[in-house]
């Protein structure tokens, strides 16, 4: 690395790629820079480590997501006797292109932006790049994912100043963009279960009676006084399926177990705020209980019991990986409780009383992203007032 360094410095033949070189060098080797002023020793933790910890926490959801893509697919084509490895392989082949597109587009834009501003490439997209494939329905055409990723990275992040400066969660903006720009591809029967083959694997025709709608999608279109949730074959679905995650949905969001494994890692390492994570669940549970106490056939989601509410859709995934994004969330301790609580409340509120958007979590988090600075402002104001009062007593 040191040998080729001069070619990338100003004046070198490849100076246009200086940021890329810096990015690669700091990726491979811990920077040798020593402190110039201020403290002489630094903690070993840096943003790279922090981000990679989040990626590690996403791995269980990612692996299970791949398996579930295959499971749902083989179920849909009536070959559910296939081995788990076959199903995993199918899911891997189906999801890999999305991951590649997400990273290629996002990192490409980050590299260009870093070079324009002559800054080091920052690691924020490491997490965003893996979040996007996990929250975008598997049947979304790759070009849509690419356009949405580009839109989100440019307009939700780079225009605000890059990593650490964005107001809205970049991955959620990607999903919201898809959701509002191509609504027909984002819900219904054909969004969440991949039916064609992936690189020649898993060919077959869809069985009769197939329905690929997610449980929440089914709830939204439910008619009558009782709920009938089914799997892709039209057989009844149990709550246990949702806990394990063998239900249709975005790749990362289906399995409670995989998500909670990730949550455990995030909390153990202290990367995510337990205040936010817990209060989202508490808020969701409370609101879920409230709507369940007033069930109504007009709003079929109110017939779900509160715990099932939390297990379905993107609620858990959002609570663990999206709401806890420190950049877009509330930053004061008190603020984090309020922020989390309101996300939980709004997610269920939107889910139940606005059946046009069964996925309330995305909108709830984006809404609270916008309000997080206001919540912090109120909390900090109380400190300011306390200080002012103290000064006034003196006089």
């Amino acid at each position: 690395m040191n040998k080729i360094e001069p070619t990338f410095r100003p004046g070198g033949t490849l100076s246009k790629l200086e940021s890329v070189y810096d990015g690669m060098e700091t990726f491979l080797f811990t920077p040798n820079t020593t402190s110039r002023s201020g403290v002489h020793i630094h903690d070993g933790n840096d943003l790279k480590r922090t981000m990679i910890t989040v990626v590690a926490a996403l791995v269980p959801a990612l692996l299970f997501g791949m398996y579930n893509i295959g499971y749902q697919h083989y179920l849909a084509i009536g070959q559910s006797q296939e081995g788990w490895f076959q199903m995993f392989l199918y899911g891997l082949l189906a999801l890999l292109p999305v991951i590649v597109v997400s990273y290629a587009v996002g990192l490409g834009i980050e590299f260009i932006s870093a070079q324009i501003h002559h800054k080091e490439i920052q690691e924020g997209f490491l997490v965003t790049g893996i979040l996007i494939p996990l929250i975008v329905p598997i049947n979304t055409p790759l070009w849509m994912t690419a356009v949405a990723t580009a839109f989100a990275v440019i307009f939700a992040k780079e225009v605000f100043g890059g990593t650490g400066m964005n107001i809205f969660n970049v991955a959620l903006i990607t999903r919201a963009f898809l959701f509002f720009a191509y609504p027909s591809r984002m819900s219904g029967d054909e969004a969440f279960v991949k039916m064609d083959s992936a690189f020649g694997l898993g060919q077959g025709t869809v069985v009769d009676g197939f329905t690929g709608a997610t449980p929440l999608g089914q709830v939204a279109t439910n008619v009558g006084d009782s709920l009938h949730l089914t799997n892709v074959l039209g057989e009844p679905m149990s709550a246990m399926d949702a806990v394990i995650g063998l239900i249709p949905g975005s790749p990362g969001e289906t399995s409670m177990i995989a998500i909670l494994l990730g949550a455990a890692l995030l909390l153990l390492t202290g990367v995510a705020s337990w205040r936010i994570m817990c209060s989202v669940f508490v808020g969701g549970l409370a609101m879920g209980a409230l709507v369940h106490a007033l069930p109504s056939a007009t709003y079929p989601a109110s017939m779900l019991d509160p715990v099932t509410q939390l297990c379905l859709g993107g609620f858990a995934f959002g609570a663990v990986f999206m709401a806890t994004d420190p950049v877009t969330g509330a930053r004061t301790k008190v603020g984090q409780y309020i922020y989390g609580l309101l996300i939980g409340v709004f997610a269920i509120l939107i889910r139940v009383y606005n059946s046009g958007y069964p996925e309330g979590m995305m909108l709830a988090i984006l809404l609270m992203n916008a309000f997080a600075p206001l919540i912090d402002h109120c909390v900090v104001s109380s400190n300011i007032k306390r200080r002012a009062r103290r000064a006034a007593v003196k006089e």
Partner: protein
Amino acid sequence: MAIVRLKKGFDIQLLGAIGSNGIVAASSPQSVAIVPDDFHGIIPRMEKKEGEHVAAGEPLYHDKNYEAIKVVSPVSGTVKEVRRGERRHIDAIIISPDGANEAFPLDTRRPAMEVLLQSGLWVMMRQRPYDVVPVPGEKPRDVFVTAFDSAPLAPDLNLVLGDKRQYIKKGVEVLNGLTSGKVYIGVREGQDIDAPGAEVTTFTGPHPAGNVGVQIANVKPVNKGETVWTMDIITLARIGELFATGRVSHDTVVAITGEMVQHPCYLSTVMGADLQTVLKNETTNLAQSRIISGNVLTGVKVDATQWLRAPYRHITVIPENNKPDEFMGWASMRPSRFSIYHTFTTWLGGLKKPVSMDSRMKGGERAIVRTGEYDAMLPMDIYGEFLIKAIISGDIDKMEQLGVYEIAPEDFALAEFADTSKLELQHIVREGLDKLRAEMS
């Protein structure tokens, strides 16, 4: 006696602590220097020229704005060099000691403030707001004295104090005459201080409990428009000694610590002594080491040809870079890669064991991402992160509202160590305070 129990903060345990409490006498220094940068807030105007003779305690220069504030020579001898840097900035005033120990006469019967200004002890004090040498003529609301140093590898101030402890009483008496309020002394649990006339508070908890700013914040915070003076117990004893005996003491005890030091010890010498004399027993490794005058958090980087810097009581020597080109350090699972955060595995083995730390940044500078990092290291009723942001954006109203008058750069030193985003917090705070001071005057 009031007790304040602090929870926030962290004690960084480093290799190279001093084993025994014996004090070794250093040989007399070859040269002694005063570095004007040590006395923040003073713009030097020289009184002595190169080649002139000075007595111990005789003024070398005074402040441009307040001629009464004098900075004095710690030894008698000849002014060898006034070393200047860019734009004629005075880097150091170097004195060749003549060994005669001739003292500059001081009349201690004059008003106490005049005596302090003339004696050179004035510049050892600081004031809040702005963390600068106090402005003469302003009567402080209170005086705060810290009696212990909680920084990593810091000297035991009881040992540095030595037999000067007998003058604490007199020092408190003098300062009580200069303030409209009280003299507060902050002590460590179990540390007994005989100081009638002073309000003594015990502080328990990790660093920065010994920072005088933290003690003020937990006893009687500074409000807008108020001024308090701050100092350590050594300066208080020196003031007492001056008024009790008529002499200023320029002797000091220095803790020589750090991983690269072969013989960690306490050394008695004079203020501003040259490091070649002070580190005479340390023969190897200095070339690949970082010599810090002070502790690893707030000290100044010096090289072996330079001098001891204020407050003249601590030297730390750590490795400069002991793992060049560490491969993929961010993915490291080594328990020896020290981090207070649980993203690394260090904490599984406990964080109380002394560790080796070099001066690498271990990461690039980033925007503030993780939450609550600064607050966890700052036991004050202040939203550190919001205050830092206000300072960076130069928003003076916000700075005032969030408590900028209560802080000094050293209060953010531990947060700077712990910062995942590797921002230079002390530098940011210092620039903010300077800007505010220029704006308010």
